[in-house]
C-alpha cells in the first residue's frame, strides 16, 4: 500500500486499491460546499427577514416577537450553516454536493458507508481542524499523515477517497464486441472510448487520433487505405469497437 492508495480487503479474497483524495480535492470540495452553505443560509436569512420584519433588518422591529425572530430567522440560518455537512453526508452516503463535484467520497477504513456516529464525530472535530484559521491544522495533517487524513477522519475512522461514480451507463458499450472477432480487447476498448469523446474533440484532433488507432489496428499496410472524411473515420472506429477489422 502506498501513500496515495488504500487497500480495502474484500470478503471474497479479491482486494481493492482505492485512490486516496489529496489535500487539493479536499480543499476544492470544501470551497464549493462553503459557498453553497453560506449562500443558502444568507438566502434563508434574507427571505425570513422579509417575512418576519417586512424588510431587511438585523434585529426584530418593534412590536414583532423575539421568539419568531429567533426561531424563523436566526436559528434556521445557523442550522443550515452548521448542519450542512453532517446532514448531507448522512443522506448522500458520505458525500455533499461539493464532494460530488470534486469526485470524492467519505468511506470507513473497510470501504463501507460511514454511519451517523462516524459522520457526526468527523464534523465535530472540524473545531480543531479549522484552527487557527482557514483549516490550517486540517490541511497540515492531510499533508503529513499517511493516508491524507485530517484529525476528524482519525477520530471517526474514515477516509476520503476518489469516487469513480459508475452508473448503469458504464457498461453501455460493453458486450457489443463481435464474439467471433479477433481484434484485441484493448484496441476495441480504446476505439469505444474515443467514440464516447468524439463530440467533444476538435475535428482535426479526432481525425489524428482515429487514424493513429486505425493504422495500429490494421498494420502499416493498411495506412494508404485509411478513410479520409470525418464520417468515414467515425464509421471505421465504430466497426473497430465492435471488433471488426476497420480498414
Amino acid at each position: 500500500m502506498d501513500r496515495e492508495h488504500v487497500s480495502i480487503r474484500g470478503a471474497t479474497g479479491v482486494d481493492l486499491e482505492v485512490p486516496i483524495a489529496g489535500p487539493g480535492s479536499r480543499s476544492y470540495a470544501f470551497v464549493i460546499d462553503w459557498h453553497i452553505r453560506v449562500l443558502v443560509a444568507l438566502a434563508w436569512l434574507a427571505a425570513a427577514m422579509l417575512i418576519v420584519n417586512g424588510g431587511l433588518a438585523w434585529r426584530p422591529v418593534s412590536g414583532k416577537s423575539g421568539a419568531a425572530w429567533a426561531f424563523l430567522v436566526v436559528l434556521p440560518a445557523i442550522a443550515i450553516y452548521v448542519l450542512y455537512h453532517p446532514v448531507l453526508e448522512i443522506f448522500m452516503r458520505g458525500q455533499t454536493p461539493g464532494k460530488r463535484m470534486a469526485g470524492v467520497r467519505i468511506v470507513t477504513r473497510d470501504g463501507g458507508i460511514p454511519g451517523m456516529g462516524a459522520i457526526l464525530i468527523r464534523n465535530v472535530f472540524r473545531l480543531i481542524d479549522s484552527l487557527p484559521a482557514f483549516y490550517v491544522v486540517g490541511l497540515v495533517t492531510t499533508f503529513i499523515s499517511a493516508q491524507r487524513l485530517r484529525i476528524g477522519d482519525m477520530a471517526a475512522g474514515t477516509l476520503l477517497v476518489t469516487d469513480e461514480h459508475p452508473t448503469a451507463k458504464i457498461f453501455d458499450g460493453v458486450g457489443a464486441v463481435d464474439a467471433h472477432a479477433d481484434a484485441d480487447l484493448i484496441t476495441t476498448d480504446l476505439a469505444a472510448q474515443i467514440l464516447e469523446r468524439w463530440p467533444t474533440l476538435a475535428v482535426e484532433k479526432r481525425a489524428t487520433i482515429a487514424r493513429s488507432l486505425l493504422t495500429r489496428s490494421g498494420g502499416a499496410d493498411g495506412a494508404d487505405r485509411l478513410p479520409r472524411s470525418d464520417e468515414e473515420l467515425k464509421a471505421a472506429l465504430m466497426s473497430l469497437a465492435r471488433g471488426s477489422n476497420a480498414t
Binding site: G10, A11, T12, G13, V14, L16, V18, P60, G66, A67, W69, A70, V74, L75, I78, V82, R93, V107, T108, D110, G111, G112, I113, P114, M116, A118, L120, I121, V124, F125, L127, I128, M154, A155, A156, G157, E164, H165, P166, T167, A168, I170, F171, D172, G173, V174, G175, A176, V177, D178, A179, H180, A181, D182, A183, L185, I186, D189, Q193, G243
Partner: protein, 334 residues
C-alpha cells in the same frame, strides 16, 4: 478459439448481468432496508462479481470493463458493509444502556474535573480578593463599570436582546465550548485541563469581584437556574477530553490513532446527550435567568429540577422500561 475471441465471448455473456447489477446497486443505495432475499442475492452477486473482476484484471487490464468492475465491486462492497440503521429502538437502547455505562466509566474523571474546576474557582476567588486590580484581565471594561455602579452586566439584558435570540447565542456558545473541551483533549489532555481550569478561574474571580460590591447573591440568583447543568456538562465534557488525552498517552490499541478513534467513538453518545442538555440550559439562561420576575426560589427549583433530570438521563433511569435487556434476558434464561 483464440484468446481475444474467448475474452470477447466471456464479456458479451457477462455484460447484461453487470448492467443489471449496476442498477440493483443504485437501487440498494437509495433503500434504507432490504429484504432477506435481496440481501442473499447481493451476497451471491458479490462473489460472482469478485470472480469477474479477478478475470477482467487478468484478461483485460486497464480497459473499461476492468475499471467498471472495480468501481462496481467497490460500490457493492460499501453497500454490504453499511452499518445497520437501528431507528428509534436503537436510540432508546443507546440512552438506556450505553450512556449510563459510559458515564459510570468516566465517573472518576468527572470527579477530577469537578475538583479541578472547584480548585481553579478557589484560586480565582483568592486572586481577585488579594489583588483586586487583576479583575481587568478577566472582565471587560463594560462589566467592571456595571458592577462598580451596583448592577450586574446581565441586568436588563432582555430589554436589549430578545430572550430567544439570547438563548440561541448562549446555547450555541456553550455547545462549542464543551465540544472544544473534548477536542482539546487531543493535546494529550492538556488542552482540556487548560480550558476547564480557565473556566473555573474566571468563575471564581467574577464571584470574588461581585462579592466585593455586594452583588454575589444577585449573580448566584442569575446563575443557579441554568448553571448547575451547564457547569456539570462542562465538567463531563472535560472528563471526555481527559479520556481522549488518556487514549493517546496510554493507548489501548496497537497504535495511538486506533486508540484515539476507539475512545472518541465510545464516548460520542455521551457527548450527544451533553449537547442536548446544553440546549435546555441555553433556553433557561435566555428566558429565566435574566428575567427579574422569577424569584430566587423558582430559580433554585428550576435549576435543581433540571439537574436531577440530567442525573436521571445520564444514569439511564429516565429511559428505563419494564423490558429486560438482551444481556439480562440471557442471564435469566441461560
Amino acid at each position: 478459439m483464440t484468446g481475444s475471441r474467448a475474452t470477447n465471448a466471456w464479456i458479451n455473456s457477462r455484460a447484461p448481468a453487470w448492467r443489471t447489477l449496476a442498477e440493483t446497486i443504485a437501487r440498494l443505495q437509495r433503500q434504507t432496508t432490504a429484504s432477506l432475499d435481496e440481501a442473499m442475492a447481493v451476497v451471491d452477486a458479490y462473489g460472482n462479481l469478485a470472480r469477474d473482476l479477478a478475470g477482467a484484471r487478468r484478461l483485460a487490464p486497464g480497459t473499461r470493463v476492468a475499471l467498471g468492475l472495480e468501481a462496481l465491486y467497490m460500490q457493492l462492497h460499501a453497500v454490504l458493509h453499511r452499518s445497520p440503521r437501528g431507528g428509534l429502538s436503537a436510540a432508546i437502547a443507546l440512552l438506556r444502556d450505553e450512556v449510563p455505562a459510559i458515564t459510570r466509566e468516566l465517573a472518576p474523571r468527572i470527579l477530577w474535573m469537578v475538583g479541578l474546576m472547584a480548585a481553579s474557582a478557589g484560586a480565582g476567588w483568592w486572586l481577585i480578593t488579594t489583588f483586586p486590580a487583576l479583575i481587568s484581565l478577566i472582565a471587560s471594561e463594560e462589566m467592571i463599570e456595571h458592577v462598580e455602579t451596583g448592577s450586574l452586566w446581565t441586568d436588563g439584558i432582555i430589554n436589549i436582546t430578545p430572550s430567544a435570540v439570547l438563548s440561541v447565542h448562549i446555547l450555541s456558545n456553550n455547545i462549542v465550548v464543551s465540544l472544544f473541551a473534548v477536542c482539546a483533549g487531543l493535546l494529550f489532555g492538556l488542552g482540556t485541563f487548560y480550558l476547564i481550569g480557565l473556566n473555573g478561574l474566571m468563575l471564581g474571580a467574577l464571584f470574588a469581584f461581585v462579592n466585593q460590591h455586594g452583588l454575589a447573591l444577585k449573580l448566584f440568583s442569575f446563575i443557579i437556574a441554568h448553571g448547575l447543568v451547564e457547569l456539570s456538562v462542562i465538567c463531563i465534557a472535560g472528563a471526555i477530553g481527559m479520556a481522549v488525552g488518556d487514549s493517546l498517552v496510554r493507548p489501548t490499541h496497537a497504535t495511538r490513532r486506533e486508540s484515539f478513534q476507539h475512545c472518541v467513538m465510545r464516548v460520542a453518545p455521551l457527548l450527544a446527550v451533553c449537547a442536548i442538555l446544553l440546549i435546555g440550559s441555553g433556553f433557561i439562561e435566555g428566558f429565566v435567568s435574566p428575567d427579574p420576575t422569577f424569584p430566587l426560589l423558582s430559580r433554585v427549583t428550576i435549576g435543581v429540577s433540571y439537574w436531577v433530570l440530567m442525573f436521571l438521563a445520564l444514569g439511564g433511569w429516565a429511559f428505563k422500561a419494564d423490558v429486560a435487556t438482551p444481556a439480562a434476558q440471557a442471564s435469566l434464561h441461560p
